[in-house]
Amino acid sequence: MISRAKWREAQTHPPGGQPVSIERVMQADVFSDLKTDTNLLSVWHIEDSLANLENVLTALAANYERFTNVDYVLLDGDVLEALSIDMKQTEGASVDQNVNQWHRDLHIGTAGKLMELAREIYSRPDTRQRMPEKKLKSLLVVAVSTGRIEKSKLKDPLRVEVEKLISSSRPSPSK
C-alpha cells in the first residue's frame, strides 16, 4: 500500500531544459511507503487475472479505523526479477484468513536496492492505482455479511460504521 500523492509525477524533462534524473525529483517521502523490517518488504501476491485483488484490498482496508480508499502499486514479477529481488511466501496478518496465503516478503537487503525499486515504481505511473473508499465500503460490508471477515476483528469505529450499513441494507420486516 502506498499514498499516491507522494509519488506524483514531477517534471523529469522540463521544456527546453536538461532532463532531470528521477533521484533529483522523487520526494524522499516515498520511502515511507516502502518501509522495510529486517530488510524485508511486506507485499501481497496478486494473480495475473486480478481475481484476488479485491479480497486483498478489502482485507487491508479492514485494518483501518474508518472507511478509506486504498492506494497501491501493481508491479509485475518481471520487474522484481530484473532487480534480483527474491520473494518468499510468508503467512500474512490480515483479518481475512484466506487472504493471508498471498502474503510475500521481498528481500530488499540494501538501501541501494530499495532506491532501485522506488525508481521503478516512480517511473511507471500506471502501476500506481487507487481503490475508492465507496467501492471498498461495499466490499467490506459483503465480506463481513458473508462471514469472510469476522466483525469482531474490526477496530471499533469501523465496526460501528459497518454494522450501521449492514442494518440499513436489511429489508425492514413487513407488517
Partner: protein
C-alpha cells in the same frame, strides 16, 4: 477533528482560514481535509463540503488529492461542478485520473455526455 465535532461551523471556519490562506503545512492540511470528509455532523456539512471543494484549487497536489478524497467521502452530487472545474485546471495526469474516477462515482451517467 474532535473540535469540529464539538463546535461545528466555527471550528471549520478556523480550519478553513488556515488551509485556504496557505498557512498550514501542506501535509498537515491534507490530513485535516481527509478527516473533514469523514466527520458525521449535519450542522457543519455545507461548510465542510465548501472547504473541500475550495481546496481542490490548492497549489499543492497533496492538498488537492486529500480534498478530492474528502469530496469522494461525502459522495454528494452537488460537487459535480466543482469536480468538473478541477478537471479542467488539473495539470497532474494522475490527479486528473482520480478526479475523473470521483466524477464517475458522483454521476455514473457522466461518461454518456462525452459519447
Amino acid at each position: 477533528m474532535r473540535l469540529i465535532e464539538l463546535l461545528g461551523n466555527s471550528a471549520v471556519e478556523v480550519v478553513a482560514s488556515v488551509i485556504l490562506r496557505g498557512k498550514a503545512n501542506p501535509t498537515v492540511a491534507a490530513e485535516a481535509l481527509k478527516w473533514i470528509g469523514h466527520i458525521d455532523q449535519a450542522k457543519s456539512y455545507a461548510f465542510r463540503l465548501w472547504l473541500l471543494e475550495e481546496s481542490l484549487r490548492s497549489p499543492f497536489a497533496i492538498v488537492r488529492d486529500a480534498a478530492l478524497l474528502g469530496v469522494a467521502s461525502l459522495d454528494d452530487q452537488h460537487s459535480i461542478p466543482a469536480i468538473n472545474d478541477a478537471i479542467s485546471r488539473e495539470t497532474c495526469p494522475e490527479l486528473r485520473e482520480d478526479l475523473n474516477q470521483v466524477l464517475m462515482q458522483l454521476d455514473p451517467q457522466c461518461h454518456l455526455y462525452s459519447e
